[in-house]
């Protein structure tokens, strides 16, 4: 399960839309060991490709050092697919190098539909996990009506893998 704030998801989707049709990529850092993504770091796709992303090696070092200095880690590593579904490709699986990270995929193939899914990728094995979007701006004590599967402060996106 990935729990992530609505404002971060909105920023990631906006980044993906902005870079469309190129793939967009970035990380969300969080305190080490917390499994809580708190700091969105959009990165540049050095491959500038509609079907491939690559973080520049010097930017990679800079961002990872900065996280280290702040006692953070890459809780989420995200990228977009711009013509296909938000599911890891064979390339994504082969190159996944952070077994502790949530791999968040965004598809921008439909301009009006938000398509986000999250996965663990460990030793070539992909496991989808639910995404719980938390709306920190909503007062959880306020009286609200909500639908099945939702609570006043969160929306759970179920998935087949969990």
């Amino acid at each position: 399960m990935l729990s992530i704030d609505r404002s971060i998801i909105d920023a990631i989707v906006a980044h993906a839309r902005r870079d469309h049709p190129d793939e967009a990529c970035g990380v969300v850092a969080g305190p080490a060991g917390s499994d809580t993504p708190t700091r969105h770091i959009p990165l540049e796709n050095a491959a500038r490709s509609t079907t491939f992303y690559l973080i520049d090696s010097m930017e990679h070092l800079r961002v990872w050092r900065e996280m280290d200095d702040r006692d953070e880690e890459a809780v989420v590593i995200y990228h977009s697919h711009t013509a296909t579904e938000a599911y890891p490709s064979r390339t994504d699986i082969t190159l996944a190098g952070e077994p502790g990270a949530h791999y968040l995929l965004v598809s921008t193939r439909e301009p009006d539909t938000e398509e986000i899914r999250s996965f663990r990728i460990v030793d070539g094995v992909v496991t989808e996990e639910p995404v719980r979007i938390v709306d920190a701006a909503v007062d959880p004590h306020a009286v609200q009506s909500y639908k099945f599967g939702q609570s006043p402060t969160a929306v759970d996106y179920e998935c087949s893998g969990a």
Binding site: S49, S57, H60, T82
Partner: protein
């Protein structure tokens, strides 16, 4: 001589979980051979069978990408710090196709990575 090597999470299975190990060598190739003698299999994750540094692994000496320092021939000195990071890369493209363009486009992207890409004003 001692060189500090920072190991990424994905390779710590080779170092007994250690985040930092020490090794020695006059260049990166020698250092990796030295590390492999104590952490068997580590070198194979970083160097291809053809003897080149794997394309999707970033190795730095202090703050420099070794690709700009001669890759496996990058010279090392006592007290240097080597950092290994698995490249953050992927995408919708099939891997065979990505590997095929890899020798051209990605090599160019990597070579240019020290400076802004020329088409940055897109």
């Amino acid at each position: 001589m001692a060189i500090e090597v920072r190991i990424p999470t994905i390779l710590r299975s080779y170092t007994g979980g250690a985040k930092v190990v020490e090794g020695s060598g006059d260049n990166l190739g020698e250092l990796l051979a030295d590390l492999d003698s104590r952490h068997g299999g580590l070198k194979g994750r970083l160097v291809t069978e053809a003897g080149a540094l794997h394309r999707f692994v970033n190795v730095y000496v202090n703050d420099e990408d070794v690709r700009f320092l001669g890759a496996l021939d990058a010279k090392l000195n006592d007290g240097d710090s080597v950092t290994i990071l698995p490249a953050v890369a992927g995408g919708a493209f099939g891997f065979a196709a990505a590997a095929a363009i890899g020798t051209h486009k990605l090599a160019a992207a990597t070579a240019e990575s020290g400076q802004p890409a020329p088409d940055a004003a897109r």
